[in-house]
Symmetry: C2
Subunit: 198 residues, 2 copies
């Protein structure tokens, strides 16, 4: 198979980058529903037919872009800690890496996360993050305080995942008024409510 060659062909990379840039640009000018293949390829300065050589339609393009995004986030977050004795500082550092990655690619993330009516990227991050939380909690003894308090673990994970992703969304919408480090520590404070429970 020549899949590896196909994936590294600079012409393909160029076309997809042009599409991605045009996508981010156009979404700052119009809503997703106004984004047509016509407009997109015109802004990307490629032929309309070329678009269909890469994606089935705009939804398909969103899906594949979201796939790429998740891959990057995954490599930034790394494997969930399997340490039996979680280090709070390490938690904060992981979160900080995540926020810094978003901050560095702020233009893209603000567009796909905080621009309204493009739920796919947020969905994907939320799902990924939920799984990540489940793995982390299960590999630790963290279930203890949750269960001790009579909290259903499933609900707690829904709650926490939505809270963190949603806060990041608000943070982006407000043009990141706090540093990633500060926000990460705020997450920790909110999570523990100021008590140093574990």
């Amino acid at each position: 198979m020549s899949n590896k060659k196909k994936q590294t062909d600079p012409r393909i990379l160029r076309t997809r980058q042009l599409l991605k840039d045009a996508f981010v640009q156009l979404l700052q000018e119009m809503d997703l529903e106004k984004l047509t293949v016509n407009r997109l390829t015109e802004a990307a300065t490629i032929n309309r037919v070329t678009f269909y050589l890469h994606y089935q339609d705009i939804s398909d393009m969103l899906d594949k872009m979201a796939d790429e995004m998740i891959l990057e986030i995954s490599s930034v977050l790394g494997e969930p800690e399997t340490d039996e004795h979680p280090d709070h500082e390490e938690n904060i550092r992981v979160l900080e890496r995540f926020l810094e990655h978003i901050s560095l690619n702020g233009k893209f993330y603000k567009t796909v996360l905080a621009t309204r009516r493009i739920p796919i990227f947020k969905e994907r991050i939320l799902t990924f993050f939920t799984d990540w939380l489940v793995t982390r909690i299960e590999s630790r003894g963290e279930a203890s305080f949750v269960q001790k308090a009579g909290i259903q673990q499933e609900i707690f994970i829904w709650y926490d995942a939505a809270a963190i992703i949603g806060t990041i969304e608000s943070w982006l919408r407000n043009d990141m008024p706090y540093t990633p480090a500060f926000l990460a520590r705020q997450f920790y404070l909110i999570h523990t409510r100021g008590f140093d429970q574990r």
Copy 2:
């Protein structure tokens, strides 16, 4: 002006109800992007041109349906408590009313909240809920424990609003496996982390 008459004309109500029903029905069969005015009016058994007498386009229809939704939620939640001495049980009851309203209109809410790629309704609820939280917190002394712990109030509100709406979304996606009363109490437990702080 005859606006009031227009709004009560049974023909108008009938057409809009047909459109709303067709909307909910079709979204269970296809994604929003596949929903056209053609398909919608066909399913609603009204003429396509009639659609444009009510809405500019599908986005406009979503906006107006979301307006109606917020009006209903607003009347269910009622005014934020201005009581200086918040009653935890009252908090839980308000939340329970909210969840029961959603549960009673489960078909609609599951479609517009938990069906993917229709962010407008969730956005509106989140914004409304955020404002509601701000009003509630400001009218109480609730800022105290947040500030005492060094938590930025703005961030805490982002966090809590996203958490609650997101949890409701997950709850709907999983076909409401808990009763509204149980879930409301879970929110309380998570919020206080089992400690009875106030």
